[in-house]
């Protein structure tokens, strides 16, 4: 144990390594953010914790792999895979929301929760039927296999691009939510759906739209993660827990909360791997617990309103 500590200390005093790990943390955090923001959006508007979000993420990664493989790894095939993942997951979400979930809105939370759990079981097994239990690797997209020279250190292009994409998604979502008409409607739906309906707004359509966008984000997140990880069954379970930790840290339905939560989890995971190898997940929980003791409703959340 002490030996590990000494080794970790010497690694952490190496500036190049420190920079590398710093960038890795942001890159991982941004990838997690893209996924978690879809979950938190659905949670904020529909008040449903979508357990199937992890399964959607996994499905997105598989769709991306299939697209890349089908096109023989041609230039641009990866990005087509990302789009395909968004479209497939959006379409799946549309069918699930319109066909089933919509009939459960008036019911207890337990019913809705278990509904999404049923979707986890079904989507997970359908993925197994289509893609089997093999592990797949998606190569880095064309032109992004190299590294960018920062002068004092090099950093691989693809994870660097992930940082940029995450930031673009965050700013884009923020602009869309705060500056556009649809964004205002979505924010109004998180506040008071009855009032929104009374004002003549088509609330069911808002719900469908949010569920589709949120799920498409899970698909995009999965496709973007595909070159970083091995695409395999079981990748859905870990990601959903990570998303929950992010949402709990950030606060229910908060965009910037999930942004900070995702970054925090990225740093804890990457530096935790160095300091306490194998136990980084436990560190993430300690982070979450500490926060819960201080602010049970998360960094950017609000105290829950009691039912009357």
């Amino acid at each position: 144990m002490l030996a590990i500590g000494v080794e970790a200390m010497s690694m952490l005093s190496n500036p190049t390594f420190l920079f590398y790990q710093f960038m890795n943390s942001i890159s991982l955090g941004m990838n997690l953010f893209i996924i978690a923001t879809g979950l938190t959006l659905i949670l904020g508007v529909l008040r449903v914790i979508n357990f199937a979000h992890g399964a959607f993420f996994m499905f997105g990664a598989y769709v991306c792999w299939s697209t890349v493989t089908f096109l023989g790894g041609a230039v641009g095939s990866f990005w087509l895979g990302v789009v395909a993942a968004a479209v497939v997951l959006g379409a799946m979400a549309f069918v699930i929301e319109r066909g089933l979930l919509r009939y459960l809105y008036g019911r207890e939370h337990l019913t809705q929760l278990l509904f999404t759990f049923a979707i986890v079981l079904i989507v997970g097994d359908v993925a197994k039927m289509i893609w089997g239990t093999d592990q797949y690797n998606v190569p880095y997209p064309h032109g992004l296999g190299g590294a960018v020279d920062f002068g004092f250190a090099k950093y691989p292009s693809y994870p660097l691009l992930l940082c940029v994409i995450g930031l673009v998604v965050a700013v884009g979502m923020w602009l869309a939510l705060s500056k556009t008409r649809w964004g205002r409607i979505i924010r109004a739906a998180t506040q008071d759906r009855e009032m929104l309906a009374a004002l003549g707004m088509n609330v069911p359509l808002v719900y469908t739209g949010v569920f589709v966008i949120g799920s498409a984000l899970a698909g995009i997140g999965g496709a973007l993660a595909a070159p970083r990880v091995a695409v395999s069954p079981g990748m859905d379970a870990t990601i959903i827990i990570e998303c929950f930790i992010i949402v709990i840290i950030g606060g229910l339905g908060s965009l910037w909360g999930s942004f900070l939560g995702a970054l925090a989890l990225g740093f804890v995971t990457m530096f935790g791997t160095v300091i306490f190898p194998d136990w980084e997940l436990v560190l993430a929980y300690i982070l979450m617990l500490g926060l819960l003791l201080w602010r049970p409703w998360g960094l950017f959340g609000h105290e829950e309103e009691e039912p009357h």
Partner: protein
Amino acid sequence: MQTGYKTTFWISCAIVLLLLLVPTLGSKYLIDLTTEILIYALFALSLNVLIGYSGNISFGHAAYFAIGGYSCAILLTTYELPLIISMPAAIILSGLAAAFVGYFCVKLTDIYFAMLTLAFGMLVWAVAFKWRAVTGGDDGFVGVNVPAFIDNRYGFFYFTLFVVTVSAALLWLICHSAFGRTLVAVRENRVRAGFVGVNTTRLRHTAFVVAGTFAGIAGSLFAMYNRGVYVESAFWTESGQVLIMALLGGLYSFFGPALGAAVLYTLQVGINQYTEYWPVVLGIILLIILMFLPDGIIGLAQKLRSQFSRKA
């Protein structure tokens, strides 16, 4: 109400008597199946204290089942302690773990509570998975040292039946005590219960500990039955499965979850013979319950009965 209790008592006695006779049928397969169902029934009953009686949706209940299982197995095997010490110690450890986790969880309610219990459940899974030296990691903890008197099919069956019956009776008493009644009041309206002077947070915490403790009993039985504990026992799908058992039987009745466990487990064993895709089947069963049978089998039976008596 009192006559209702009496009927329940006699029906329960009849069921226990019938179960006592199961080994005389001579089918080893049936004895094993009944033992497994009894263990799952206790697991589902314990969860119902939390969900049916106090309205807290736990998605991490498998954690206490696994803690009970691992502690019992480790105490029996690694430390070679006798059963009379190992099992109570395992049960107390599950209760303590539930007390610790519950302390954080009951600060939150509803969907936040569900997320947090799930996160803690997966923490237990992660620890069991990584702490190879103690738990055996993903190979599982195998070769549990089971005392001689239950080291055979018949002995273990009667031992399980005894433990489950006593536990179910205790749970029944707890749920029908003043404590259980107050839990229902909290479930129905937390704010009002608070106004009449109930410390709702402490009450929910107690329910959490009771549920975790009894799940630990089920878990320790399961570990001895299988002569091993596997990390899958702590996985979140296991928590989901026991929740489905409770829901299938009927959450708002005391024995519903036990019935649900029997039905679902029998289905699982049956379907596993034909296909490896049990999760899809489970998902579809769950969708059907949610869409068409919101109050489970017991609720359906009650509805049919009331319709029948209206016609008569």
